[in-house]
């Protein structure tokens, strides 16, 4: 056996994938079936958003932030609007804050449902994708009823939200929350204890705690590696300090934990939505701010929120004119892509696919 000459070969897991993670190219060096080296190549979705923002007024930047991360567009808009409001010290009406929290949590659930479906599809189970999307339809129907769009909402405005909820929103929202809560047992029964699923995701892609901290990983990936850090509790924004919810945390850091953690997070989000619906006050939803002539004071501000993928942040430098001088967007997937070579080297391709799926990387966040 020692006389056999083997050669490593390079395989390009090209920008087009059957997986739904977007356009990320992975250059793999393989020794037979094992992956020896991974080199992610990003930039296929670069749209120079940060530069475009420098030529738009603050109100016009909001639809652009939608496209920064279109799976959780509400969070992307919110982080920008929050930064501007903190800079200009604008007080947002109560009702608007509650509506914002409801929309953010609904968006988190929708994003986790896509994660569930896409991960299951990568690992081979084709049906959970459709089940996840079926429940997501309930959520995006709610969004369409409120702001008019299903994916790129343009709902958050500087000073509040753009539309008040119609009267059929609240009963439909409660019904959607109830249905999703019931279907969670379906999702869990289908995959959680399935021996094939366990064999594919347990002890696969283990991310140790110190490596997670060193790479600046955040969100569910960090919490699955044992660090109980959630910006909604550690550095509360909006009115999250008024709600009662737990932060799930797991300790193994493997793909199975990351998967289970996101399912737990869906349940916590459902709790938050019910509390917000119960406590929704009357009042205005928008503190009127002139969209054309709005000039925040010169200065800089960083705002961060807990997105469904991790910490999402926006850093704005304003020079006192109607257009920002610099908008820097920080997406958590950028760090997660860097973690991939550390976590998935020396395994078979199937494990690489499973790990990449559970890291839940979205390319628009990486490339902007």
């Amino acid at each position: 056996m020692s006389g056999l000459l083997t050669q490593e070969f390079t395989v390009n897991m090209g920008p087009h994938h059957p997986s739904t993670h977007g356009v990320c190219r992975l250059i793999l060096t393989m020794d037979g079936e094992k992956v020896v080296k991974i080199e992610p190549v990003i930039g296929y979705l670069h749209r120079s958003m940060e530069k475009i923002c420098e030529n738009r007024t603050y109100a016009q930047c909001v639809p652009l932030m939608d496209r920064f991360e279109y799976v959780t567009a509400m969070s992307a808009e919110y982080v920008f609007v929050n930064a501007v409001e903190k800079l200009a010290e604008i007080e947002v009406p109560e009702r608007a804050e509650y509506l914002r929290v409801i929309m953010l949590e609904l968006n988190r659930i929708a994003s986790h449902l896509i994660f569930y479906g896409a991960t299951a599809m990568d690992i081979g189970a084709l049906t959970p994708f459709i089940y996840g999307l079926r429940e997501r339809e309930l959520i995006i129907d709610l969004f369409e009823m409120t702001c008019g769009q299903r994916l790129t909402y343009n709902y958050m405005k500087i000073g509040g939200v753009s539309h008040d909820i119609p009267k059929e929103f609240i009963p439909k929202c409660r019904e959607a929350v109830k249905i999703i809560g019931e279907k969670m047992s379906d999702y869990e029964g289908l995959l959680n204890e399935n021996p094939i699923w366990l064999a594919r995701t347990k002890n696969v892609g283990v991310l140790p705690t110190d490596l997670a901290k060193a790479y600046g990983v955040s969100g569910p990936v960090l919490r699955a590696s044992g660090v109980k850090y959630d910006i909604r509790k550690n550095d509360p924004y909006s009115i999250y300090d008024r709600f009662d919810f737990n932060i799930p945390c797991r300790h193994n850091g493997d793909s199975y934990d990351r998967y289970l953690l996101r399912l737990d997070e869906i349940r916590e989000s459902l709790k938050i939505i019910i509390q917000a619906l119960d406590g929704l006050p009357e009042g205005d939803t928008l503190k009127k701010v002139n969209p054309f002539n709005f000039k925040p004071p010169a200065g800089e501000m960083y705002s961060r929120i807990e997105n469904s993928r991790g910490e999402m942040g926006v850093y704005i430098i304003s020079d006192g004119t109607t257009k920002p001088l610099r908008v820097k967007m920080r997406g958590s997937s950028y760090n997660h892509v860097q973690v991939l070579p550390k976590v998935a080297t020396g395994v078979l391709i199937a494990d690489l696919v499973a790990t990449f799926a559970t890291l839940d990387v979205i390319m628009p966040e990486v490339d902007r």
Binding site: T57, Q60, C61, P63, D141, M145, Q149, N154, L190, K323
Partner: protein, 205 residues
């Protein structure tokens, strides 16, 4: 041994969940024979709204929608006539550039422009999607809307007050307000903001 039974039991549980769905009715809608109900706020194409009685366009060419649009999909030509008011000459919306954000609708104070709920307008030729004023008005005829009250005309300020107001506003038209691609905008001189006229003032209220 026990884990084998456990594994088999969980496999069968998974199969039971999928097999349960075999008996349920499908949730999909057979397009194009059936269509889903679209909420009224749904943002489809841009249309121009007309007055219900007279049939004339509500638009007063205040140009706020053009200034609000982040992608410069709206082009308005409205030169001033002898009575110093703007007359709408051409209003073109390029739906291939429009990002359907709804900022134009939010900016308009006269309910002149709206995003209607129509979504089936794909075509093989890009020029079909660039709509001029007549097409926009025609598509907007049957769109229901709640007319906003027109804000009352403010009395024109005297000359000194006007100059003081102009001094307070320190902006210069270098980065022309919200016009993203200036080099393709031939009528730049029509949009200078340093002489705010009545409609602009109303827009800033």
């Amino acid at each position: 041994m026990k884990s084998v039974f456990n594994g088999l039991k969980n496999l069968i549980k998974g199969m039971a969940i999928t097999s349960k769905h075999l008996g349920r009715h499908a949730v999909t809608v057979q397009y194009p024979e059936q269509r889903d109900n679209i909420p009224e706020r749904s943002r489809g194409i841009v249309v121009l709204l007309s007055d219900k009685e007279t049939g004339e366009l509500n638009c007063t060419s205040c140009m706020l929608c053009m200034r609000a649009c982040p992608t410069a999909a709206i082009r308005i030509e409205a030169p001033r006539g002898e009575d110093k008011k703007r007359h709408l000459q051409s209003f073109v919306v390029n739906h291939t550039i429009c990002c359907f954000c709804g900022l134009c609708e939010q900016a308009c104070n006269f309910t002149a422009i709206k995003m209607a709920t129509m979504y089936e307008f794909s075509s093989l030729d890009k020029s079909v999607l660039v709509w001029d004023m007549n097409k926009l008005q025609e598509m907007g005829r049957d769109v229901p809307y709640e007319p906003k009250k027109k804000p009352a005309a403010k009395p024109r300020p005297k000359v000194e007050e006007k100059e003081k107001a102009a001094d307070d506003k320190e902006e210069k038209p270098d980065t022309t307000e919200t016009k993203p691609d200036e080099k393709t905008d031939p009528k730049n001189e029509n949009q200078t903001p340093d002489q705010p006229d009545e409609e602009d003032k109303k827009g800033e209220a």
